[in-house]
């Protein structure tokens, strides 16, 4: 069965791959590339066991995340007002809650406090860029933006290394925000499927005149196309045929229900809350449950230069409720052990207040990992008393990406040469933070 969401390589892609093979590996790649490629890749790089298990790639946590939910809090989440509360001069509008896990988090996040025993809070994130676009790009791709190349998001890397995650569903989905060409230098078919409105589900998936009419029309399409397709036994046309078949399967399949939030009970919806982010988180759960490997959910409104207290009461509270519900829901369905939930943001916010809010602060910030073989109820790394510098176990964005990639079972050391000939890896050659894995 050919992967329906992966197009056979067009000539330019073939050249890219050939070039890749010529320059990096010195061998020709197996034709299965893009399908189930890891074995071929491991073999071509000379990795000992020719695969994952037992090879140099194995180890605690490797491959423990069958799926990843990446929550991107856009604008820059204040670490001090969320996961790294401080007293003294840096203290925010609210105090800290003690949790059963033994660490404190901000009073703005009472629901998350209750699930703290399932979380691994990373308080030692550090980066250099304090500009939204560039920092967002870095957090979503693990690379600084360049004018000459587009780097892939983690979902696209997964599709490259591990193949498609499901026969009918996309391998990665981007909820509440476009993926901004999340395929990077990989084929356009690796672009995360955008769901801009979680309540509306998958756009254009319902034929306006009924599936029966569609099938009658498609029968005629095949008839009209016969002579043309006979004349051109072309791999790109074959790929289009596959797309249409896959699309019709999807339109008819029960899996389309994965996109339909109406399948959820009112009680479940209420648990997540009534925000767009909450809907996104619930949809993410449905999707990973159905076989989508990587789902990004965006939340806006974190750029709290002004009225931080009020914004945390709204945006922060929505996040609190939805994230806590997501972790609880995954746990109760037995999915948390094989699903990695990441809370990410482009940077932190300054220890000192300017007016009613805080400015951008990349020097130290927090992210959170939960599930998939990650230690539960721990804090990784630390900032100083003001929340101004990292004093223990600094983690770069590249290392965070390598850690997620490791958990997801990506071969971190396998280099991919982009069409411009330059070499890339998940996390830009960074090492995973092994200490977070149980």
């Amino acid at each position: 069965m050919k992967d329906p969401l992966h197009l056979l390589p067009p000539v330019s892609r073939r050249i890219f791959l050939e070039k890749c093979a010529r320059s990096a590996f010195g061998v020709t790649l197996a034709p299965a590339l893009g399908g189930l490629a890891p074995a071929a890749f491991a073999a071509s790089t000379g990795s000992p066991a020719g695969g994952m298990a037992g090879s140099a790639q194995g180890g605690p946590g490797f491959g423990s995340a069958k799926r990843v939910i990446f929550l991107q809090l856009r604008g820059g989440m204040s670490h001090i007002d969320t996961f790294d509360p401080k007293t003294g001069a840096s203290k925010g509008p609210k105090g800290a809650l003690s949790t059963k896990a033994g660490f404190q988090i901000s009073e703005f996040l009472p629901n998350i406090a209750k699930v703290s025993d399932k979380l691994c809070v990373v308080r030692s994130m550090s980066a250099k860029v304090g500009v939204h676009a560039a920092a967002n790009y870095l957090m979503r791709t693990g690379y600084d933006p360049r004018g000459t190349i587009r780097h892939p998001m983690l979902g696209a890397w997964g599709q490259h290394y591990l193949g498609a995650s499901h026969e009918n569903l996309p391998s990665s989905v981007s909820i509440n925000h476009n993926s901004d060409n999340g395929n990077g230098f990989f084929p356009a078919t690796y672009t995360p499927l955008p769901i801009i409105d979680p309540d509306a589900g998958l756009q254009y998936s319902v034929p306006y005149s009924g599936i029966k009419t569609v099938e009658e029309r498609l029968a005629l399409v095949r008839e009209v196309d016969t002579a043309f397709q006979k004349r051109f036994p072309d791999e790109n046309i074959a790929a289009y045929n596959d797309f249409y078949d896959a699309t019709v399967r999807l339109m008819k399949s029960t899996e389309l229900r994965a996109f339909d939030l109406n399948q959820e009970s009112a009680a479940t919806k209420a648990n997540y809350g009534d925000s767009k982010f909450a809907r996104g988180c619930l949809l993410a759960r449905r999707l990973v449950e159905s076989g989508v490997r990587f789902v990004e959910v965006s939340s806006g409104g974190w750029d709290m230069h002004n009225n931080l207290a009020d914004s945390m009461e709204s945006t922060g509270a929505e996040f609190d409720k939805a994230y806590a519900a997501l972790v609880t829901d995954l746990e109760s369905r037995g999915l948390l052990e094989s699903t990695l939930v990441v809370v990410a943001t482009e940077f932190g916010r300054k220890p000192e207040f300017a007016g009613s809010g805080r400015g951008h602060y990349p020097t130290v910030f927090s992210t959170v990992l939960a599930g998939a073989g990650v230690k539960r109820g721990i804090v990784w790394g630390a900032s100083d008393a003001q929340g101004a510098t990292v004093v223990e176990k600094p983690v770069s964005v590249g290392e965070l990406h390598a850690t997620i990639g490791w958990a997801a079972g990506y071969p971190l050391e396998t280099v991919v040469n982009a069409p411009n000939g330059r070499p890339f890896t998940v996390g830009n050659k960074s090492k995973p933070v092994m200490g977070v894995f149980a």
Partner: protein, 693 residues
């Protein structure tokens, strides 16, 4: 042949060394005025050592002798060594403007065919049979005018019995407004044209400038030269858009410049020596040094200063000042230094970089492209670079654009990838590529003239071939490759069905919105801004850009079009891709079908996917085409009997009549209850519709 093109080695040797100049002195001078040196005419005042002058047009160059003609039509043969040095410099610079040896079209096309045939013979294969007339016309419309032909355009051509009808159709289409749209889309991907520069500044004047160059068929060398050397405010001079686009990342800009215009892949050397090719990081910085005295400025501080406690609100100040501060200008000194992490022995971090041109072979430096003045004068740096870049003797400039245009029509470059021509072994037919480069120079970079040659070859007019298998030998061009339409071709073709050929007519005009903001001053004060606001108010206008925030779903506003605005359908503006937002919003049909995001060059994609199929089957576009209001459906309705209606729709969508079997099958389906609009859906969703044969 290879050696002649400078491909035989990648050794980098020094070009003519530039004379040293104290940067301190340069800094002490007043602000330099940048003056491009490339002449636009061959008219010149010639002077000899005795001070005698003659105003005359340069006709030809023959060694040290030149032939000139004065206003009365009298010709003179002059010895350059007897004239002042500036005259020699002028001759060198003006040479590209001289008339070329004319070659009849048929002959130039058949020379290309002979080289393609030689390549085919070497590969043990032959050229495909000539494409059928209807296939050929559809391909020609798509490749030149960017859209499918209407049924009546196609029928008119098929009915024409004259033997030279293909040649005439090529000329007609090259002269059409559709051509301008199509070439704009092609260049927009290459040049990464996008509406938003940064800080709210719009690139509308730049886009309009590009459109004007296309409409005037400005030669490629002149166009590129102007992009490199443009100076001034974006509100007054659109050509600065190329450099302004990459404000804050001049090294990335240079990397793109070298890749796009020369096919030199130097991305690696930006940060370290190229691991495989011979590019060093030093080479890269020496090239970047030509832009070391170029400033792409916005002046954020000034905006804050004026906003604070001023009489104008911030958004007015940002818009007004932003478009006047966004400019390219030349600084008194070359600021470029080697980077902090420079790790090679040949220079120290922080050391100033002396500009130096790259070469591919030792012989390159002896050519005229390298003979320009390379003194370190900051005011001349960009000009020196641009003269070299666009010189006919530049080892790569002609071949890079010739190879790109070849790819546009054949689906594959003679050498791939088009952005990296550093490996001469990658050329599938070196002799052909060298000839195409020579032809490009012979026609003086006239892109239309060059395309005319390619389009008239039997190679182009042959039947298409399927995509070669991954392990196949290099493609020898038995015909063009079967291609999926580009995103803009699909969109523009769909509009042709929904709106008719009038769709070529709608022209977006947004540059005026920026131009009206122009304040012709070097230092702008709050008083200037207030005066401008008053001036606009008096004219009944506002500072707010019409291209600013739009209603969700709208690409551009209807009042941004010249004359009659285009129709809309369920939130879609039915104007050609070139006349919509650049790029279209990410959820738009165009982006779904592969329009580039315009951040990375050459990233238009023709790959398919499930979201495309969903959109084609259930989206607004198929509704627009099959609704009763669509042009093609209305016209079909004029025929009284069903058979004619069916035939008309086949002709409109697929560019051919239905076979007897197809006609029977279609009528059977219609009998069972499907309607004509369903047939529109069916034809739109065939592979035959979306692939160009």
């Amino acid at each position: 042949m290879l050696a002649a093109l400078g491909f035989s080695s990648l050794a980098l040797v020094a070009a003519k060394p530039g004379s040293k100049r104290e940067s301190k002195d340069a800094a002490a001078e007043s602000k330099p005025v940048f003056r491009p040196t490339r002449p636009t005419t061959t008219e010149h005042v010639w002077s000899d050592a005795a001070g005698r002058t003659i105003k005359a047009e340069l006709l030809s160059v023959d060694g040290v002798h030149i032939v000139v003609r004065d206003a009365e039509g009298k010709s003179y043969r002059l010895n350059l060594t007897k004239l002042v040095p500036a005259d020699t410099a002028f001759v060198r610079a003006a040479e590209p403007l001289l008339e070329s040896v004319p070659v009849p079209l048929k002959e130039s096309a058949s020379r290309v065919d002979a080289l393609v045939s030689a390549g085919l013979q070497k590969a043990g294969t032959t050229r495909n049979a000539a494409a059928a007339e209807d296939q050929f016309v559809r391909r020609l419309y798509l490749d030149i005018a960017g859209r499918i032909p209407t049924a009546s355009e196609l029928s008119a051509h098929l009915a024409d019995q004259t033997p030279d009808k293909r040649e005439r159709l090529i000329d007609t289409l090259l002269g059409s407004t559709g051509y301008n749209s199509q070439l704009f889309d092609w260049l927009a991907d290459m040049l990464r044209l996008k509406d938003d520069l940064s800080k709210g500044v719009k690139s509308f004047v730049y886009q309009e400038w590009v459109k004007e160059q296309i409409a005037a068929n400005r030669h490629w060398d002149t166009l590129v030269y102007e992009l490199m050397t443009a100076e001034g405010r974006i509100s007054a001079n659109g050509a600065v858009g190329y450099l302004l686009r990459d404000r804050g990342m001049p090294l990335d800009n240079l990397s793109n410049t070298l890749t796009t215009f020369l096919g030199a892949n130097v991305a690696c050397a930006q940060c370290h020596d190229h691991p495989m090719a011979n590019w060093t990081q030093r080479n890269f910085y020496e090239m970047a040094s030509f832009f070391g005295a170029t400033e792409q400025g916005y002046g954020k501080g000034k905006i804050n200063q004026i906003t604070k406690g001023g009489a104008l609100d911030k958004s007015t100040v940002v818009t007004l000042l932003g478009h006047n501060l966004a400019r390219v200008e030349t600084l008194p000194a070359n600021k470029l230094v080697f980077p902090k992490d420079y790790k090679y022995d040949d220079a120290k971090p922080g050391q100033r970089v002396t500009p130096k041109l790259i070469t591919w072979t030792k012989e390159d430096a002896n050519t005229k492209a390298y003979s320009g003045d390379l003194g370190g004068d900051p005011a001349k740096l960009r000009d020196q670079f641009a003269v070299w870049l666009t010189h006919p003797d530049n080892p790569r400039f002609a071949v890079a654009i010739a190879n790109r245009l070849w790819k546009k029509f054949f689906g594959l470059g003679v050498q791939e990838p088009i952005g990296d021509l550093d490996d001469p072994k990658a050329s599938s037919n070196p002799e052909l590529l060298a000839h195409l480069a020579a032809e490009m120079k012979r026609v003086h970079f006239d892109l239309k003239a060059f395309q005319r040659i390619i389009l008239n070859t039997q190679a182009y007019q042959a039947q298409a071939s399927p995509t070669p298998k991954a392990d196949a030998a290099p493609y020898a061009f038995p015909g063009p490759l079967l291609r999926r339409m580009s995103a803009d071709q699909v969109w523009d073709s769909v509009l042709t069905l929904a709106v008719g050929p009038e769709v070529d007519r709608f022209k977006l005009r947004r540059a005026d919105e920026v131009r009206k903001l122009d304040i012709d001053k070097d230092r702008i004060t709050e008083a200037d801004l207030l005066a401008k606001v008053e001036e606009l108010k008096a004219a009944g206008q506002t500072v707010r850009m019409r291209g600013g925030k739009k209603k969700k779903g709208a690409e551009v506003r209807s009042d941004e079009f010249e004359g009659e605005p285009p129709p809309t359908f369920e939130g879609l503006t039915l104007a050609r891709a070139s006349e919509l937002a650049q790029p279209a919003r990410e959820s738009h049909f165009l982006r779904n079908f592969g329009q580039s995001d315009r951040d990375i060059a050459d990233t238009n994609s023709t790959e398919g996917g499930v979201p495309q199929a969903l959109m084609m089957m259930n989206g607004e576009v198929q509704k627009a085409v099959s609704s009763p209001g669509s042009m093609v459906m209305k016209e079909a309705g004029r025929f009284s009997n069903e058979e004619e209606q069916v035939q008309f729709l086949y002709l409109s969508f697929l560019g051919r009549a239905p076979s007897a079997e197809e006609l029977a099958a279609t009528r059977a389906v219609l009998e069972k209850g499907l309607k004509l609009k369903d047939l529109g859906w069916v034809l739109l969703n065939t592979r035959e519709f979306i692939f160009v044969q």
